[in-house]
C-alpha cells in the first residue's frame, strides 16, 4: 500500500513542522509577532544535539535535555535582547518583523562562522527499524515523530488550560491590558511563551536530526517557512490548529513528491495556503480575534 505509506511518511514529516508551528502560533497569539527567527531555533537545537551527542559523545537523553534547555534559553535571550523593548513600547509591527528578520540572519551567520557553511552529518539518533503492517512498510522514525508530536501537543494543551501560567497566557493573548489589570505580569508571560515555543522547536530539532541525519546553518529557512505556513493554515494562535496545519502540510508535501513531481511540493504547499486564506482567512481552527490595546 504505497499510498498509505506516503501518507504516514507525510505525517511523520508533518510532525516536525507541527512542533515548529506551535512556537509560531503561541508567540503570535501573545504578541502578534511573526517571529521569523523561530525557524532558526530549530537549527540551534540541531547543532546543540550535534555537539553534545557527536562531538562530546554524551548519552542521547542528556543531549536531548541539553538541546531543549539551550533552545529555551536562546528563545528567552532573543525575546529579552531583541524584542522586549519593542513590545513594551508598543512599537509598530513592521519594526518587530524587521527585527525578527535581523535576528534570523544573525543566528544563521553566527552558526556559519562557528561551524562552517557545509552540512554536518549526524548518525541516526534513535535506532531505526522498518515495521511491517500487512503490506504497508514504515520506519520506526515515522512513528516516533508522530507519537512525540502528539504527546507534546497534549502536554501543551494541559499547560495552557490547566495551569495558572497557562491561563495567564490565554488571558494575555486575548486582552493584554485586561490581563495586566488582573495582576498578571504580562512581560513574564511573554518571556515564558518564547521559552516554551523554543523548547518545542528543540524537540522538533531532535526529530529532524533523527529523520534527516543532516543539519546546516540555513536549515531554519525552509523549515521555518513550512511551519509558518502550517501555523497560518491551521489558524494562527490555535494549538490544535498548528498541529493540524503541520500534518496537512507534511502529507501534501509527501504526496506531491510521490505522485506529482519532486519539485512541485513547495508550490502545492503554498497553493493550499492561498486557497485557505481566500476561503477562511483565520485558518482552519482560528476564531475571529478582536484586537485591543
Amino acid at each position: 500500500m504505497e499510498f498509505i505509506e506516503q501518507v504516514l511518511n507525510g505525517l511523520g514529516q508533518g510532525s516536525i513542522f507541527a512542533l515548529v508551528a506551535l512556537g509560531y502560533s503561541m508567540v503570535y497569539g501573545i504578541v502578534q509577532l511573526i517571529n521569523f527567527a523561530h525557524g532558526d531555533i530549530i537549527m540551534v537545537g540541531g547543532y546543540t544535539a550535534f555537539v553534545t551527542f557527536i562531538t562530546f559523545g554524551m548519552p542521547l537523553w542528556l543531549a536531548v535535555i541539553i538541546s531543549i534547555l539551550v533552545c529555551a534559553a536562546v528563545g528567552l535571550i532573543i525575546e529579552r535582547v531583541a524584542y522586549h523593548r519593542l513590545i513594551v513600547h508598543n512599537a509598530a509591527r513592521i519594526s518587530l518583523l524587521i527585527t525578527a528578520l535581523g535576528v534570523s540572519i544573525f543566528l544563521q551567520n553566527l552558526f556559519m562562522l562557528i561551524f562552517g557553511a557545509e552540512p554536518k552529518h549526524i548518525s541516526t539518533l534513535f535506532p531505526m527499524e522498518t515495521i511491517k503492517l500487512g503490506n504497508t512498510e514504515l520506519s520506526s522514525n515515522t512513528i516516533l515523530n508522530i507519537v512525540v508530536s502528539v504527546i507534546m501537543m497534549i502536554g501543551l494543551q494541559l499547560l495552557v488550560n490547566k495551569t495558572k501560567i497557562g491561563k495567564a497566557m490565554q488571558a494575555s493573548s486575548e486582552d493584554a491590558g485586561a490581563a495586566k489589570l488582573m495582576g498578571i505580569n504580562t512581560n513574564q508571560v511573554v518571556a515564558f511563551t518564547f521559552m516554551v515555543g523554543s523548547a518545542l522547536a528543540a524537540v522538533g530539532a531532535i526529530l529532524y536530526c533523527n529523520t534527516y541525519s543532516q543539519i546546516k546553518p540555513t536549515m531554519g529557512n525552509f523549515l521555518g517557512l513550512k511551519a509558518f505556513v502550517a501555523a497560518v493554515l491551521g489558524g494562527i494562535g490555535s494549538i490544535p490548529g498548528a498541529m493540524l496545519g503541520g500534518y496537512i502540510i507534511g502529507i501534501a508535501d509527501s504526496l506531491t513528491k510521490a505522485y506529482v513531481s519532486s519539485t512541485l511540493n513547495d508550490a502545492v504547499v503554498f497553493g493550499i495556503l492561498i486557497l485557505m486564506l481566500s476561503v477562511k482567512p483565520t485558518g482552519i481552527m482560528g476564531g475571529d480575534r478582536r484586537e485591543k490595546v
Binding site: 495558572k164 491561563k167 495567564a168 490565554q170 488571558a171 486575548e174 486582552d175 491590558g177 485586561a178 490581563a179 495586566k180 489589570l181 488582573m182 495582576g183 498578571i184 505580569n185 504580562t186 476564531g287 478582536r290 485591543k292
Partner: protein, 234 residues
C-alpha cells in the same frame, strides 16, 4: 487613600490630562464625571499603571504608585473594572473569576469568595460554565465587577459601569456598587451618567478636557446650576 497629584498624560502630541489632581478618602465613593473625551479613562489607566504621567505623583495608601507596574498595583489592593468590561470572552465565567483572583494564593478563601460573587450575582452562577463572550451586556458587566472583586481589593475603580445597559440593569449595578462600598471597599466611579453617579457618591469631581472644573459634595453638585445644565440635562 488615593491621592492623585498634578498628573499630565499625553498620547503623542495629544495632551489628555492637564495637571489633574484629586483624592479619595478611605470608605468613600467618589465619582469622576465628564463628557466623552474628557480624559476619565485616561485617568483610570494612569492610576492602574497602564499609562504614565510625565509629572506629579500618585499615592495609594501613602506609597507612590506612579512608577509601579500594573500587576504590582493590583497586588497592593487597587483593582479596576475597565471601560467596556473587557471580560475574557474565550474563557468561561468561572475562569474569568479565577483570573480575577490571579494575585492570590489562598485557594480556600478564593473558593469562598467565588461563592460570594455567585450569591451577589445569581445569574453568573447559572452560567458559570458558559463562555463569557456569550453573556449579555449586563451579565458581562456583573462578571467584570465580580472578577475585580475576586482580588479582594481595598479600593475599586469602575469605568462607566452603566454604559450600554438598560435602566433596570443600571439600578442593579449601582445597588451592587453601594453594597460593595458598605462592605468596606473604597470606590472611585467614573461615569457619563452623572445623575446616577452623583446619587450614590459622597463627593464628586467634574472633569473637562483633562482638568477638574468643579468639585464638591455630590448632593451639592446635584444642585449646581452649571452641572445641571451641562451634565444633568437641564
Amino acid at each position: 487613600m488615593l491621592d492623585v497629584k498634578d498628573i499630565n498624560v499625553y498620547y503623542g502630541a495629544i495632551h489628555a490630562l492637564k495637571g489633574l489632581s484629586f483624592y479619595v478618602n478611605e470608605g468613600e465613593i467618589v465619582s469622576l464625571i465628564g463628557a466623552n473625551g474628557a480624559g476619565k479613562t485616561t485617568a483610570m489607566h494612569t492610576i492602574s499603571g497602564l499609562l504614565r504621567s510625565k509629572t506629579g505623583d500618585i499615592l495609594f495608601m501613602g506609597d507612590s504608585i506612579a512608577a509601579a507596574e500594573p500587576h504590582k498595583i493590583v497586588r497592593l489592593g487597587l483593582a479596576q473594572v475597565p471601560e467596556g468590561r473587557r471580560v475574557f470572552s474565550g474563557m468561561t465565567v468561572q475562569e474569568n473569576l479565577e483570573m480575577g483572583a490571579f494575585v492570590r494564593n489562598d485557594g480556600r478563601k478564593v473558593e469562598k469568595d467565588l461563592e460570594m460573587v455567585f450569591t451577589r450575582f445569581p445569574r453568573l452562577k447559572e452560567r458559570r460554565r458558559q463562555r463569557a463572550g456569550t453573556l449579555s451586556g449586563g451579565e458581562q458587566q456583573m462578571l467584570a465587577i465580580g472578577r475585580a472583586l475576586m482580588s479582594r481589593p481595598k479600593m475599586l475603580l469602575l469605568d462607566e459601569p452603566s454604559m450600554g445597559l438598560s435602566p433596570i440593569l443600571v439600578n442593579e449595578i449601582f445597588d451592587c456598587i453601594q453594597e460593595v462600598n458598605k462592605s468596606g471597599t473604597t470606590i472611585l466611579l467614573v461615569e457619563q451618567n452623572a445623575k446616577m453617579a452623583l446619587s450614590i457618591s459622597h463627593r464628586a469631581y467634574v472633569l473637562e478636557t483633562g482638568k477638574i472644573i468643579i468639585e464638591g459634595k455630590s448632593s451639592e453638585l446635584l444642585d449646581n446650576e452649571k452641572v445641571k445644565r451641562a451634565y444633568l440635562g437641564g
